[in-house]
Symmetry: C2
Subunit: 199 residues, 2 copies
C-alpha cells in the first residue's frame, strides 16, 4: 500500500475505519470496486450519493427516512395507538423483518448508561413522554435489550410514563439474557412480541 496512489490509499483508510472492516478487508473492497468500476463502483457511488442527500431522521419517531416524517409514521393504518420503543434503527428494522408489529415506533438512539454518562436527555425519552402526553396512545411496548443498560432504560421509561396511565408492556419470552435485538432471528422477535407481558 506504500506505493498505492494517494487517492486510493485515502479511500482504503476511509473504508478501514468503518465498523466491521479493517485494513485488509478495505484493500480487498477497494480493489474490487476499482476493477469493477461500471458494475460495482459507479452504482455504489450513485446509491451513496442519493442516500447522502435524502436520508434524514423522522421528527416524530427517530427512524431514518427520506422525508421529514417517515413512511411508518405517515401510514395511517399503523396509527394503532401502539408505540414500540427500540434502542436504534437497526432494532426497528429487525422488528419490521419480524413482520408481526403493526403499530408505530419510537427510536431512543441508545440506552441509559452510567458508565458512558448517557442520561435521559441524551436519548429521545423527553420526546416519548411528550408524544404519549399528546394522547392517542394506548400501549407502549418496550422492546429493549435484555442487558443491564437496556433494562435500566426500560424501568426509567416506565417510571417517566407512570403518570399518563398508558399501558406499558415489554417484550418477554424469546429475548435471551444479554441478547441484542438485532441479532435475533425474525421468528423469535415475533414470538417475543406476541408473548409480551405487563411491565
Amino acid at each position: 500500500m506504500d506505493r498505492a496512489p494517494n487517492d486510493i490509499e485515502a479511500l482504503i483508510a476511509q473504508m478501514a475505519r468503518l465498523p466491521g472492516l479493517g485494513p485488509r478487508s478495505a484493500r480487498r473492497l477497494v480493489l474490487h470496486l476499482i476493477q469493477r468500476r461500471d458494475q460495482s463502483m459507479r452504482p455504489l457511488l450513485a446509491a451513496l450519493d442519493r442516500v447522502s442527500q435524502s436520508a434524514q431522521t423522522c421528527s416524530q419517531c427517530g427512524n431514518i427516512s427520506t422525508a421529514p416524517v417517515c413512511a411508518i409514521c405517515t401510514d395511517t393504518r399503523r396509527a394503532t395507538g401502539e408505540i414500540c420503543v427500540v434502542e436504534d434503527v437497526a432494532d426497528l428494522w429487525a422488528m419490521e423483518r419480524g413482520g408481526v408489529f403493526k403499530g408505530q415506533y419510537h427510536v431512543l438512539g441508545g440506552t441509559l448508561s452510567a458508565l458512558d454518562a448517557i442520561g435521559p436527555e441524551d436519548l429521545r425519552i423527553p420526546q416519548l413522554v411528550d408524544r404519549v402526553g399528546n394522547g392517542g396512545v394506548r400501549e407502549v411496548i418496550l422492546a429493549l435489550a435484555a442487558t443491564v443498560d437496556g433494562q435500566t432504560t426500560a424501568h426509567y421509561i416506565a417510571d417517566a410514563l407512570g403518570h399518563t396511565g398508558v399501558k406499558i408492556t415489554a417484550l418477554a419470552q424469546g429475548v435471551p439474557m444479554g441478547g441484542e435485538l438485532d441479532y435475533l432471528d425474525d421468528g423469535t422477535i415475533g414470538a417475543a412480541l406476541r408473548a409480551r407481558k405487563d411491565f
Copy 2:
C-alpha cells in the same frame, strides 16, 4: 428493512454484494454512514468519487494507478532490470508492504486455470513476453502462490521466456503450501524474496 426507504434499501443491497459483506454487515454500515453523514458518509463519497474518476490500469505493468503509467514504472530508481510477476494488485501491495523488493512489477490479473478456462491470452502473459523481449530485463522473479494454478502459471511463464535467456527465479522459502501471498505477514514475504532460487 421492509420499511427502510427505497434509496436506503438499494444502498444496502449494493453494499451486501461486495466481497466480505452480507446483508447484516451492510445494514450496519449503511446505518453508521447515515448517522455520521459529515464525519463518515461525505468523506467516503468524496474519496470514492476521486478514485472512480482517477483510477486506471498501468499500461506497462497492470498495477492500479492514477496515471496511464504507474508511479513504480515511472520511478527510474526502480528500473533495476528486475521484474516481479504477481497474480494481482493485492499481491503487489503485499510485496510493497514487505519493503524489500526495489524493482518493477508485472501483474498477471489471475493465474492459468483449466477449471475456469483461463488461458495465457486471458492474462498479461503476452505483454510480459513482449516486455522482456524489449530488453533491459535481467531477472524475472515469479512471486506466485504455492497452489497448483500458481505453480502451473509459473512453469508456463518460465517456458514462454526460455528463449530470451533472462534469469528466472521464484520466491522460495517462506511461502507455505497452499498459501496465498496476500495473507502472508510482511517479514515472511521479505524472507522469501531474499531466499529466492533459480527456477
